[in-house]
């Protein structure tokens, strides 16, 4: 198998709570993998197990072909990690912190460092205590991306960045991905995941509930369709896979399971359709489908 990360049946208990309850995660080498889940779902715990900072109570985990608990130091030469909450030393300057993290990881690329400082517009002479949350994240991001490593593990790395910096971040992820690196990106920002990730895993309560390419996830779900026709469209509700039909004179809206879309289109062909819009489910809708229902339960 050519997976950069593979975890099966991970269990991690903290006292009585089961933070991870049989979680599976597979990230192939070279892919940018989105890792989604609400707060408290176990994303950070998973990442800390992948880094060997926590030991799983059960399950197998391999990172870059090694056991992260046993071989932490050897593996960490080949990966870079950006924590969700970046804590730095108040009296070190940002530049010192970047060099320190880079060096402890096994050295960083000086040219790349200068380029990233410019791109993320970070003043490296400021003391870390004066940095805002976003600036602290920039320190960790620059230290990570200036290292030439095979795997980047990023835990909500852009939660404090402004939209300009978000664009800089996306550009940087594309660059390292083009160079062949693997990226595991835990995020709450759907547009970011949709823009960057080829595959996505969604977890809830310590269990993986969906995993696959964005296209395949969409295929499992419904497309929203809005039709404007000369008159009402009859017979829709009886078709397989059609849900939530709302008719309003000449306007009709409904959702359809993706696999039943062809039949619906053939049915619509029998009407005088003036306009038709359809959009695939956004990642947000996918996500809400998994959590919205559960939340109201």
């Amino acid at each position: 198998m050519n997976d950069a990360i593979s975890a099966t049946g991970l269990v991690k208990r903290f006292g009585r709570t089961r933070a991870l309850d049989g979680l599976n995660l597979a990230v192939a080498a070279g892919e940018v993998h989105g890792f989604l889940g609400p707060n408290g779902a176990g994303k950070t715990t998973t990442i800390r197990v992948l880094l060997g900072l926590l030991r799983a109570d059960a399950g197998q985990v391999r990172v870059l072909g090694g056991d992260p608990w046993q071989d932490a130091v050897r593996l960490h030469h080949r990966l870079a990690y950006v924590p969700g909450e970046v804590n730095l030393w108040p009296n070190l300057s940002g530049g010192e912190a970047i060099d320190l993290f880079g060096d402890l990881r096994g050295g960083l690329d000086k040219t790349r460092r200068a380029e990233l400082l410019e791109r993320f517009q970070l003043d490296p002479t400021k003391r870390c205590r004066t940095y805002s949350k976003g600036n602290k994240q920039k320190v960790a991001l620059i230290a990570a991306f200036a290292s030439r490593v095979e795997l980047f593990i990023l835990d909500e790395p852009t939660s404090g960045l402004d939209p300009l910096m978000e664009a800089a971040f996306q550009q940087t992820v594309r660059e390292v991905s083009a160079d062949g690196a693997t990226v595991l990106l835990s995020s709450h920002i759907f547009s970011e995941v949709e823009a960057l990730c080829s595959k996505v895993s969604i977890i809830r309560d310590g269990v993986t509930v969906e995993s696959g390419t964005l296209a395949s996830l969409r295929h499992l779900t419904r497309t929203s369709v809005a039709v404007e026709a000369a008159g009402p469209i009859s017979g829709l509700a009886g078709l397989p896979g059609v849900h939530d039909v709302v008719a309003n004179g000449t306007q009709t809206r409904f959702d359809v399971d993706s696999r039943d879309l062809p039949g619906v289109l053939r049915h619509l062909a029998g009407f005088e359709v003036h306009a038709l819009t359809s959009h695939p489910p956004t990642l947000e809708e996918l996500f809400m489908r998994h959590y919205g229902v559960e939340a109201s339960r």
Partner: protein, 541 residues
């Protein structure tokens, strides 16, 4: 908006956060006081024994430096002589830490920002911290007065003792409030406030050491340096002597000035900013920083320099007084006994015993430094940058060892240089102890300090959540059982629990390699076990 809006709520919040810590300080002080009172009554039951002891002490500047000026010969006056100065220091430290914790520390962590965004006035945070500190000092004073009354001591002296401690504590709360405005980091504010306690203690000591003896050979009138020190003002209340109640006005005046100044500063500065601003740092990390050891050195060096400088100054002071010990105390059995107890030996030469006792004190200081330095492991891990560091190619053992190396190296430097300083000063004053001997005597304390270090590493590995409490408790017990075991009348088996009980009292006795090797082995075993446990446990979030 009213500048004091929300103060009540913040006081309740601060009191709740400190619901364990402050009672420990207060109850701990009362327990120490009770133990001290019992020990004095036990050791010096007769007026005669006290007169002998105090007469000797009054002739020794070194003892006066450590303890204070004797105010009389009854039981209370003896207790004043033995315990008053340390109680004042305790009140001062409790107050400074509490005020910084609830002011600058809150700003540094961003809690103050969250609170300030609520319907909370600009002065509320500082007011709440001061009110809490005042309340703690009132309770401390009441607890001490109560303990002394319970020990059967006169009411007016007991009241003066408690009041002086409370008021001195409050004055230092005021100083800390100003420091918290001036410095941007809580660490710097704490360091400034704690240093001011140390300087105040030392100034008072110098004033007492230079003081003038009364005709009775017992009472000492302090010289002018004492009057520069808030701790000195507390001492000048002279509980159980002829109490001087008016001296209580001095700390109160300092308090008023400091509180006024702190509030003026609050109005002039932005949240989070200090008046002593940060300079820009280097844009790149220097070679020396870029390793786990380099990082640890960078994090510890300021503290190491401070502790080493303090030890050298203290060492020189101790050394310069050595030669005069002999003149003053040769015939005095009381002081002789006291020093012998501290040194834990019955050596013949009084000067040797004096230096051995002082080296024990340096050993304790080094252990205190080591505990403080190693607790950095805990602060780096819990909500600190350790997660990101251990996410790089740095192993846990290497990371922890880097901090341990700084702690051990700093302690070694403290002890060697304190010993050398004492030796040089002794030679300059005409003594004949020898620089090499006293340097060695200082370093002989290192294994005991390292044993405390080993224990801290063990707890850090095994019981990380309790490490702060257990580390300080271990140090306190080591001091109580080892250094003060004899003074407090503890049985030998209990005293043997402390590493300080096993250090050979050089130069009073000859160097014996056995205990030193054994202590070093124990220290290494404790540390190794701690590192193994740390490697096997989860990292705290």
């Amino acid at each position: 908006m009213n500048a004091y809006a929300g103060t009540g709520r913040l006081i309740r919040l601060a009191a709740r956060r400190d619901r364990v810590q402050l009672p420990i300080w207060i109850i701990g002080a009362a327990v120490l006081m009770a133990a001290g009172a019992a020990a004095v009554a036990d050791e010096f039951p007769t007026e005669e024994s006290r007169v002998t002891a105090l007469r000797g002490a009054g002739g020794s500047p070194a003892v006066l430096l450590m303890r204070g000026a004797p105010v009389g010969t009854d039981l209370g006056a003896m207790l004043n002589f033995r315990n008053f100065a340390s109680m004042l220091v305790l009140a001062a430290l409790m107050s400074t830490f509490a005020v910084v914790r609830h002011t600058r520390r809150n700003e540094e962590t961003g809690r103050a920002e969250l609170i300030g965004a609520g319907s909370v006035g600009r002065h509320a945070g500082l007011t709440a911290a001061l009110v809490l500190a005042f309340a703690a000092n009132l309770l401390l004073g009441a607890a001490l007065t109560g303990t002394l009354l319970a020990a059967g001591l006169p009411a007016s002296g007991s009241l003066a003792f408690g009041a002086a401690c409370a008021v001195t504590g409050m004055a230092f709360a005021g100083l800390a409030a100003v420091a918290a405005q001036l410095f941007q980091g809580a660490r710097a504010a704490n360091a400034f406030a704690a240093t001011s306690v140390g300087v105040a203690y030392l100034l008072r000591g110098v004033g007492d050491a230079l003081g003038e003896r009364a005709a009775d050979g017992i009472q000492v009138t302090s010289a002018w340096p004492t009057w520069l020190s808030p701790i000195g003002w507390g001492m000048e209340v002279r509980p159980f002597g002829a109490e001087r109640w008016w001296a209580l006005a001095l700390p109160v005046a300092l308090l008023a000035v400091c509180v006024y100044g702190a509030f003026v500063l609050v109005d002039r500065r932005d949240l989070g900013a200090g008046l002593i601003p940060d300079r820009p740092g280097p844009a790149a990390g220097s070679r020396a920083l870029l390793s786990p050891l380099g990082l640890a050195w960078r994090l510890h060096r300021a503290s190491i320099f401070g502790w080493v400088a303090g030890s050298v100054v203290f060492g020189v002071g101790i050394g310069s007084l050595g030669a005069s010990v002999n003149d003053a105390m040769t015939e005095n059995t009381g002081v002789n006994k006291l020093l012998n107890q501290l040194a834990g030996s019955g050596g013949a030469d009084l000067v040797d015993v004096y230096f051995a006792a002082m080296m024990n004190v340096f050993g304790v200081l080094a252990a205190g430094f080591v505990v403080q330095a190693l607790l950095r492991l805990h602060t780096e891990e819990a909500g600190g940058p350790a997660e990101a560091v251990l996410g790089t190619a740095v192993g846990r053992v290497r990371w922890a060892l880097s901090h341990l190396a700084c702690a051990a190296g700093g302690a070694a430097a403290m002890l060697a240089l304190a010993g050398a300083g004492a030796g040089l000063a002794d030679a300059a004053a005409g003594g004949d102890e020898g620089v090499a001997t006293l340097t060695g005597a200082g370093l002989a304390q290192l294994p005991a300090a390292l044993t405390v270090a080993g224990f801290v590493v063990l707890v850090f590995g095994g019981l990380p959540r309790l490490v702060v409490t257990l580390a300080w408790a271990a140090l306190a017990l080591s001091i109580a059982c080892g250094l003060l075991g004899d003074v407090l009348g503890l049985p030998q088996a209990v005293r043997d629990l402390s590493p300080f009980s096993h250090v050979p009292s050089i130069p009073a006795v000859d160097l014996t390699p056995g205990p030193i090797a054994a202590l070093t082995a124990v220290a290494a075993a404790l540390a190794a076990a701690g590192l193994m446990l740390f490697r096997r446990r989860d990292l705290a979030p």
